[in-house]
């Protein structure tokens, strides 16, 4: 049933596009759309070889199905310009041969987003993912399947904040992952991470975390598995810049970094110990891993996360297969490997979009989700306002959710300028939807939420913008930290991504006066998620609840304050 179509070399991408999509172009009703798309269609795959890798990453604690609008701006620089993941919208569709208006187009791009969201509904939900994982394990045999969690799993919701990530730990356990890696996990603090890791029953891997004092590995780097008669090594990479992008006082004794030498040593060691397949389960980010594939030898597959990029099928770099499986539970990535004489000789890959209305929820997981949410369900569903516009976060320079937050910071803290971090997590609301506590916390759930109010000089503001911008647009991916540009309220600026640090930011203008930012003058700035210790101010989720409640209905003018130059 599953392998019958020869043309589905690339799994359901081809099937969704060619097979059923053509009828979807117009404004078909949701019911009709869902009739045409079935769970079996989503599971169709060109099964191959002895080993199946399932990749699930960056769910950011979203137990329930979500809307998540893919970015309209994702600029690549240097050698990474114009290639995945730096393709959005029509360019993405064209590159991967996807018909506009199809379920696959909706899953991966923002083209006609609202219309298609209303047609095809939400994606994700851990109970839907559970159904897919169980079906694939049943089809392939458990002895052939590795289910790998790419991290950013425990943080990002109201319930994950209130339970210290326990809701996610309990639910993920039912999926029986074989290994995981981390990033935002560490913002629960070193002790909490170790407590969970000791009890969770599967490996927490990090080739790149070392004790500050003795320079010894903190976690195991590699886990070995026997799958389909093949010895598979899975090596883990935590987010290399966690102590810089997040508060290092929460895990003061741990040092991270990309550490390609340590990784090469672990790959070589895995081979020496008989690994026929070496998989890197990574939270490095797409571009970092594209480069890593060219400087570390002997990795067969990189399953990458962190930058929240989805691609409909794997790409190959330097004999390494690379798959990036999106975020927020929207997708389940799959790679089948054919191994002969200790070498990968063939593979097929696919990104399964988890269409929530099409997939039957797994009863066991659905019950567990209800159970962990039960104490908080009423609060989660409390309506604090309504939006008349599409609210989303993802994008290099701004998102409408951040426009709201930046305005909230300015009004609630009486500031001239506001800064909101360029996180890539946070879900989407369609025009006309209520805003609930659940929705607010998808944007703000974190353990260092204080909203500061400070004075910065114009020169300092320029330095901050240049610094963050270089984390995003440094031509060497090893210097990229994986977030987007800091969002700015109350101030316009121009950005030239292709320039070097110090020369990217220009034309800074205070919106309230229309005057250019004066390098010597002080400006009152409000912002949140500072990585420094003992930051004072109200938590951003409380401040924003006040702001949204007061407004009642959210409708912001389009944000045209960032001009992109030379791109």
């Amino acid at each position: 049933m599953i392998t019958r179509r020869d043309f589905m070399q690339f799994g359901s991408v081809a099937a969704l596009t060619a097979g059923m999509a053509s009828g979807f172009a117009g404004n078909l009703t949701r019911a009709l759309a869902q009739q045409k798309l079935t769970q079996d269609d989503l599971l169709k795959f060109d099964s191959k070889g002895q080993v199946t890798l399932l990749h699930f990453t960056d769910v950011h604690a979203q137990l329930k199905p979500v809307y998540f609008r893919p970015p309209d701006t994702n600029i690549g620089v240097g050698a990474y310009e114009g290639i995945p993941p730096h393709l959005v919208g029509e360019a993405f569709l064209k590159y991967f041969g996807i018909e506009p208006g199809t379920p696959t187009a909706y899953a991966h791009t923002m083209v006609d987003y609202v219309n298609l969201a209303r047609t095809y509904g939400k994606l994700g939900g851990l109970d839907r993912t559970a159904t897919l994982v169980k079906a694939i394990r049943a089809e392939r045999g458990e002895d052939k399947v590795l289910f790998l969690d790419g991290g950013d799993t425990w943080q990002g919701s109201y319930t994950s904040l209130k339970t210290n990530g326990q809701d996610m730990v309990d639910c993920m356990k039912l999926l029986k992952p074989d290994a995981m890696v981390g990033h935002w996990e560490f913002t629960f603090g070193a002790d909490r991470v170790l407590e969970i890791v000791e009890n969770m029953g599967y490996s927490f891997l990090a080739s790149n975390i070392f004790d500050n004092e003795w320079d010894e590995p903190v976690f195991e780097s590699t886990a070995f598995f026997e799958k389909g008669g093949v010895k598979v090594a899975v090596i883990g990479q935590a987010m290399p810049y966690t102590p810089i992008a997040n508060p290092n006082w929460m895990f003061p004794n741990w040092s991270f970094g990309i550490r390609p030498e340590a990784l090469q040593a672990n790959v070589d060691k895995a081979r020496e110990e008989g690994a026929e397949v070496v998989v890197l389960l990574s939270h490095d980010g797409f571009d970092v891993d594209q480069k890593l594939a060219t400087v570390v030898n002997g990795i067969d597959v990189i399953l990458t996360g962190h930058t929240h990029d989805s691609i409909p099928r794997a790409i190959e770099i330097n004999n390494t297969i690379l798959l990036s499986s999106g975020s927020h539970g929207k997708y389940l990535g799959r790679v089948d490997l054919e191994v002969k004489d200790g070498k990968v000789v063939g593979y097929s890959s696919n990104m399964i979009p988890v269409f929530a209305d099409v997939i039957t929820p797994d009863p066991e997981m659905a019950a567990k989700i209800d159970e962990v949410r039960a104490p908080y369900e009423e609060e989660c569903n409390r309506v604090i306002g309504k939006t008349e516009q599409l609210l989303y976060r993802r994008g290099n320079f701004n998102g409408t959710w951040d426009d709201v937050i930046c305005q909230g910071l300015i009004e609630e803290r009486d500031a001239e300028i506001s800064l909101s971090p360029g996180f890539r997590w946070g879900t989407t609301l369609l025009p006309g939807q209520d805003i609930t506590i659940d929705d607010l916390y998808t944007q703000t759930s974190m353990n260092y939420p204080s909203v500061y109010r400070l004075e910065f000089t114009g020169a300092q503001l320029k330095d901050i913008l240049e610094d963050v911008c270089d984390n995003l647009f440094n031509k060497d991916p090893f210097y990229q930290q994986g977030g987007d540009m800091v969002r700015v309220g109350g101030m316009a600026y121009a950005c030239a991504p292709k320039e070097e640090i110090g020369n990217r930011i220009s034309d800074m203008t205070l919106l309230s006066t229309g005057e250019p930012i004066d390098p010597g003058r002080s400006y009152v700035v409000a912002g949140w998620a500072s990585v420094n210790e003992n930051v004072e101010g109200p938590p951003v989720y409380d401040l924003m609840e006040n702001f949204i409640s007061k407004k009642g209905t959210i409708e912001m003018p389009a944000n045209e304050t960032v001009k992109i130059k030379g791109y």
Binding site: P243, A245, G257, D414, P421, G422, F423, R453, E466, E536
Partner: protein, 151 residues
């Protein structure tokens, strides 16, 4: 703009928020020439070769006050293949030479590590001098960020 009216506000906490220490992004590395000059004194004017010497430095410092730097030379440490010294330079340091490790055949291997303070983004350079007079160089840019907005 009334700055003091909110009680929650303490500027002291915030002063360190973004550790903006007059970092001039992309400023010219005034001391690159000084490092060159100091190196030439060791090499006797010869241009050092690439290779053999490995310099391990983070791409981005987690803490500019204590940046781990490791050096090692692929050497048998016997016969003519003996490393005499490895010197580490920092282009942004007031004094270009930061530390020199001296080795003898008794050292067994030419490997050393240290931690150094880097106030701003700069190149760290290592220079190894062999017993036979050959010299090897390795260079790595270490970025020191204001940080705090990624993820």
């Amino acid at each position: 703009m009334n700055i003091n009216r909110r009680q929650a506000l303490t500027l002291s906490a915030g002063a360190a928020l973004f550790a903006v220490t007059g970092m001039s992004a992309g400023s010219a590395r005034a001391d690159a020439a000084a490092v060159d000059k100091a190196m030439m004194e060791i090499t006797g004017g010869a241009t050092p070769e690439e290779g053999k010497l490995t310099l391990n430095a983070p791409e981005i410092a987690e803490n500019g006050n204590t940046v781990p730097i490791g050096v090692s030379v692929d050497s048998a440490m016997e016969g003519d293949d003996i490393v005499e010294s490895i010197t580490i330079f920092a282009e942004g340091n007031p004094e270009p030479s930061v530390i020199t490790f001296n080795f003898t055949p008794m050292s067994g291997e030419a490997t050393a590590s240290t931690r150094m303070r880097l106030a701003k983004t700069q190149n760290v350079v290592a220079l190894a001098k062999m017993k036979d007079g050959k010299t090897y160089m390795a260079k790595s840019e270490v970025k020191v960020t204001i940080g705090g907005c990624g993820g």
